[in-house]
């Protein structure tokens, strides 16, 4: 059975707002305040970064993640498909901008020989996707680094049942 997941509108709105604020704060001074050359380059670099972020948010809005027994597919502008039997690596990272490392988000990266699928934990059903990917990685005997194992455990997924036992 194929299940489909999407990024919720609330998280997309926050990302759009972030990129809009960033673009306003970098392009605004660049256009109106005649900054010094070094500052102008800095603002231009920041503007470029926020522009890429805006583009990525648009891509996310148009992307659907499809999950089934055969593999995982990201349908959208930067779509890719990975069959579980071709899965080469799984990496699950955790990021937080707070000093206490609370209230962060996870980033799942799946790779086969050619393609990479990147999914953030804001997507609906992220735990299900991570569980399916971890099961496939286990079947394939893929090496998981220490950080990935710790993060999987925090999602309630046992990366290596032999270790748990």
């Amino acid at each position: 059975m194929t299940r489909s997941f999407q990024y919720p509108l609330s998280c997309l709105c926050a990302d759009y707002a972030g990129s809009a604020i960033g673009l306003a704060c970098s392009l605004g001074p660049l256009a109106y305040l005649q900054p010094a050359a070094a500052m102008a380059w800095l603002l231009a670099a920041a503007a470029a970064l926020f522009l890429v972020y805006f583009g990525r948010t648009v891509c996310r809005q148009l992307t659907h993640i499809e999950l089934d027994e055969a593999g995982i597919r990201a349908r959208g502008p930067l779509g890719a498909a990975i069959r579980w039997e071709h899965l080469r690596s799984l990496r699950l990272d955790y990021y937080s901008t707070r000093r206490d490392r609370e209230r962060g988000w996870m980033h799942l990266r799946l790779r086969d020989a050619q393609r990479t699928i990147r999914i953030d934990s804001e997507v609906d059903g992220f735990a299900d996707i991570a569980r399916a990917a971890a099961a496939a990685a286990r079947r394939r005997g893929a090496d998981l680094d220490e950080a990935t194992c710790a993060n999987l455990r925090m999602l309630g997924i046992v990366p290596n049942p032999a270790q748990a036992a």
């Binding site: 926020f50 990525r56 962060g104 220490e146 950080a147 993060n151």
Partner: protein, 341 residues
């Protein structure tokens, strides 16, 4: 990683705005300003021409304008008669005390501070790393006890006191005058190899004085972190599998115990420019620390404000770099809580 970088950048924008506002407010907090103090002095002396000049400068630099307007002009988001001219435009303002642009006053001293404090950091790391690693791998040995004692002495001795003791002994025992960061004849002269050599000759005393406490602190932290790592299961497993001890130490536990040092980069960047102000005063070093103290004391608002803002910017950038490095090195969730959204 892009999301993380963008979110960290978004946090930096309000942080820098708040810091700039707080910095400017603190500089303006005491009643009066540099020029009003000057005007009062000139008035008591009856110097009319200088009085008119001071009043003219007061109007020219907008010190008679409302506080918020002065702040906006200083940052460079509000135009003056000459157009936008603030920090964003690279104009650090005018130093009333030195009667020069702030950039000119700060220039040479900033370079000297950078050379001094960067050497201090190199010295600290070069000494602390091997000693810390030795103390951790030879726990409770005579070497460990001896180095620990030295570390505590280094931590407990204030830098300015160490500087005074060193100056006294150098003078009394060896007849050496060790103050200053170069020979007096090179002061205010353009840079040359002779001047650079003179700086290097004078550098070792302040480097040892300033670096001792930092070295001691770093030895203690590295020892503690490394001991934690050495007791973990993966180290025991690697040992059991016959991995060479030195290779094992360098490849895994030493790398993991570096996280606190990477987290410290945020504090390191501003200290490269402004660190060790009190020692610089004691040793008569021509660095930026004493200049900042003087500027704060005399309410030279643009010199003090621009310099403090520059330090704040370095802190924020340092924190940003250290956060990015930490996120790359150890993207793990906290096991004590911290659920992802």
């Amino acid at each position: 990683m892009l999301t993380y970088t963008i979110r960290r950048l978004l946090i930096m924008i309000p942080t820098l705005l708040v810091i700039s506002f707080v910095t400017f407010s603190i500089i303006k907090l005491p009643p009066g300003d540099f020029l009003s103090n000057q005007i009062a002095e000139l008035r008591s002396q009856g110097d009319k021409a200088a009085l008119e000049r001071a009043e003219f400068m007061r109007a020219q630099y907008g010190l008679d304008k409302p506080f918020l307007e002065q702040y906006a002009v200083w940052v460079g988001i509000w135009p003056t008669e000459r157009g936008f001219s603030g920090l964003l435009q690279g104009d650090w303002g005018w130093s009333f005390e030195h009667d020069l642009p702030v950039a000119e006053v700060v220039g040479d001293r900033m370079l000297l501070s950078f050379i001094l404090n960067f050497t201090v950091i190199l010295f600290t790391w070069a000494v602390a790393f091997p000693i810390g690693a030795y103390a951790a791998t030879h726990q409770y040995s005579w070497g460990d006890y001896g180095l620990t004692l030295l570390g505590y002495v280094g931590l407990a001795t204030p830098n300015f006191l160490f500087a005074l003791v060193l100056m006294y002994f150098a003078n009394v025992e060896f007849g050496l005058a060790i103050g200053g960061i170069m020979d007096p004849e090179y002061l205010d002269k353009p840079w040359s190899w002779a001047k650079f050599g003179s700086v290097l000759n004078h550098l070792w005393i302040p480097v040892i004085v300033i670096g001792t406490s930092g070295t001691a602190g770093m030895i203690r932290r590295l020892r503690a972190n490394l001991l934690d790592e050495l007791q973990k299961q993966y180290v025991v497993t690697a040992r059991a599998k016959g991995m060479p001890p030195f290779g094992l130490l360098v490849k895994y536990p030493l790398r993991m115990s570096l996280n606190p040092f990477i987290a410290d980069i945020g504090n390191l960047l501003p200290s490269v420019i402004s660190g060790s102000a009190i020692v610089a005063v004691v040793l008569s070093l021509q660095t930026s620390g004493p200049m900042l103290l003087d500027a704060l004391r005399s309410q030279d608002q643009y010199l003090a404000g621009s310099f403090l803002m520059f330090l704040a910017l370095l802190t924020v950038i340092g924190m940003f770099i250290s956060d990015l490095l930490l996120a790359v090195l150890d993207p793990r969730i906290r096991l004590t809580g911290g659920m992802a959204r």
